[in-house]
């Protein structure tokens, strides 16, 4: 019996739990290595060669090369790690949110200035499924 995950019905959200941490370990360790300039230089000089140092899955590796930000999260990445890769690419947290939400930076920034995304209609997956049907 595993632990019951009462958070899996929250829409648009990957909860980075210990299972995700296990799956994403190599991916996240790669990302955090980019905290240091010398590693960013090496990665930017030859991404493939740099990634060879990390035994991540083929899907994780491809997600990194494609800068598939949501894909990385689905494969066990955590936002505080993937944000290091984003920073390397010159993308800050708000820019990244613009990409991950599919809204684009301008629309996202305006939503935040207007008070952010309301929790109403955004608490349960079933609420999103209803919306999709309309």
């Amino acid at each position: 019996m595993g632990i019951k995950k009462d958070y899996e019905d929250i829409p648009g959200t990957y909860v980075f739990d210990a299972d995700a941490g296990r799956r994403g370990y190599q991916l996240n360790q790669f990302c955090i290595s980019l905290r240091l300039q010398k590693n960013r230089d090496a990665f930017n000089a030859d991404e493939e060669a740099y990634l060879d140092q990390y035994s991540m899955t083929a899907e994780q590796r491809q997600a990194v090369l494609d800068r598939d930000w949501n894909g990385m999260l689905a494969l066990g990445g955590n936002i505080y790690y993937t944000s290091k890769l984003a920073a390397n690419d010159g993308i800050n947290f708000q820019g990244l949110a613009g990409i991950m939400t599919g809204m684009g930076q301008e629309k996202y920034r305006k939503m935040m200035l207007d008070g952010g995304r309301s929790p109403d209609g955004n608490r349960y997956q079933s609420e999103w499924d209803e919306k999709d049907k309309d």
Partner: protein, 284 residues
Amino acid sequence: MARITAGVGCSHVPAMGVAMDTGNTQDDYWKPCFAGFEKTREWMKNAKADVVFLVYNDHCTAFDASCIPTFALGCAAEFRPADEGWGPRPVPVVKNHQTMASHVAQSLILDEFDITIMNEMEVDHGLTVPLSVMFGEHGVDDEWPVQVIPLCVNVVQFPPPTGNRCYNLGKAIRRAVESFDEDLNVVIFGTGGMSHQLQYKRAGLINKEWDTDFLNRLTSDPVGLSKMPHVEYLREAGSEGVEMVMWHIMRGALDDDVTEVHRHYHIPASNTAVGHIILENNKD
């Protein structure tokens, strides 16, 4: 003996640090956010704290995924601001009250809180932004006006410690501080939050009503508040809003009855709702 006289709750949004470091706190975007901390800085001066016990979390900076301590107490002599990917913040090195920190470590473990002891640690925006916000601009060659004992809590990999555990750890921290011989005035900070989600399609979630209720209950119902299940933070305050469990450590270290002397709430700072509160123990 040493005493905890007050508690501070405060967001630690990295963009606020950037705004201070680049001198942009008075532009249209940031002015209302920082205005709420003017009274705080006055209060901080009058509080005459010797030591700040600062509860925060690391954001995959000093700790990578190889080791994830739930509670890590900083026992080193000093803590350097970390490079989070764009160079270290230009703020002073953080100096510990080292004998008090090791006393607290021993006391907590014997009090059945099995914390991790950090004899080397860099600190990221989770710790330096609250210092900047509370004490104002300080350059690399300045000194912070207080010594700081850092307590780093895992809130990144789920599950973080429960609110109840955090609240009780606060009580143990108070016992530890009060059994330290030196006459020291200690203020405890609980940082992080408030509602925010940084990731995936629901990024940008803000819940003003929930945040306001949280701030209210710190005074009116701290014990009930500390029992809130994790899933409620995730659902109502966003996946990164779960950071707020750290505020219960601060609250647990105070008297049962406290007086709220200041509050500030502002939306947005980048992706986040900024919340701030000052609670004083009712003087005897």
